[in-house]
Symmetry: C2
Subunit: 217 residues, 2 copies
């Protein structure tokens, strides 16, 4: 049997970046580019904000349930941020990988590190998006929200904490042009899908070659 | 300073495959695609065949010189095949990597393994090309050469030895369609050029971000 696109394994595509570097826009563009991509919806114990939809933006869960998932090994990664729990449920990811569907994660460096140590680490593609400059990042945070100065300062500090963990990702892209960064992301994902680790059926192909070689000898 | 294409490091792009799987054709197409690619010309102690040009097809060298290069650490990899020495001189590769030029290697699994353990291993992109089938491989070997049956049998055995080392390469492609394989190779090379390990100037960018963050705080 030939190794085909169909029988490849899915990738865990991790996108991390400080808030305001364009990550969410890029994630949306990737989802529009390839409808086979699954987005990993995080679970959280924080309350929904106006307009947020359960099961789409987040799975909104009670703290007891969240903690039970963690102890049951049902969370791929989790962390506490500003007093709330966030995490990536494991079962939908494992199912997608086996179906040959890539899963896109919009998570921070802590989550990326945890997934990077998980049993699925050989299928991880991690990408960090850097902003072109800090003034530009601040401008985007200011334009975007109605937040007051204190909140923006707090976000900038969290942004710097995130940026300081840029190292250790497979790819690090400076998002100075959304279209260019989008193209680069597509190229990277297209290539990584071809990785030997994503193509378990290559083994069947090599076994078939071996049988053919033995028949000829 | 922004990380640009210009100040990236070059890759060592290793193509391995059994003879007859299309590797030479693919290597030529890649060289035609990107004129910044350098081809690593191997050194050998075997005699030139009619039409072979010194410095283009091979560096034809005396056995004493070859052995001196090896002991002086000037060979990135070397091996003895059918009584002759073959190897990849290191200095031109190191120079190209620093200039941000990728170097293409058409070498066997022994060479690939040696380069994979060298000091340049973090810049290696290794790709193995598999034939669609053994009868097809044999047909290509028979059509190509005026070799007699014994030589072809010997080559088929060497081919199988090569195929049996397919595992351990970053990428393994089944060449059932030259154009498709060529496109895949280009995608893979384009992506790997963006790897964090190939972009040392990212560090300058992050340092600039840090200065900007400290100024704002």
């Amino acid at each position: 049997m030939l190794a085909t696109e169909k029988n490849r394994l899915g990738l865990l595509v991790i996108l991390s970046s400080p808030s305001g570097a364009g990550k969410s826009t890029l994630a949306k563009r990737l989802m529009a580019w390839d409808e086979t991509l699954r987005f990993s919806v995080s679970a959280t114990t924080r309350s929904p904000r106006p307009g947020e939809v359960d099961g789409k933006d987040y799975y909104f869960v009670a703290e007891d349930d969240f903690k039970k998932w963690v102890t049951d090994g049902e969370m791929l990664e989790h962390a506490q941020v500003f007093g709330n729990y966030y995490g990536s449920p494991k079962p939908p990811v494992e199912a997608a990988i086996q179906e040959g569907r890539d899963v896109l994660f919009d998570i921070d460096w802590q989550g990326a590190q945890q997934i990077g140590k998980s049993a699925l680490r050989h299928h991880v593609l991690s990408i960090f998006i850097l902003p072109p400059s800090i003034p530009e990042l601040r401008r985007r945070l200011e334009t975007r929200a109605q937040d007051d100065v204190d909140v923006i300062t707090k976000r900038m500090e969290k942004s710097w904490d995130e940026i300081s963990h840029w190292d250790g990702y497979d790819y690090v892209l400076v998002n100075d042009d959304l279209d260019k960064t989008e193209d680069r992301l597509k190229t990277i994902i297209a290539a990584e899908r071809l990785k030997a680790a994503q193509q378990p059926h290559l083994l069947d192909h090599v076994r078939a070659l071996q049988s053919q070689f033995e028949e000829l000898s």
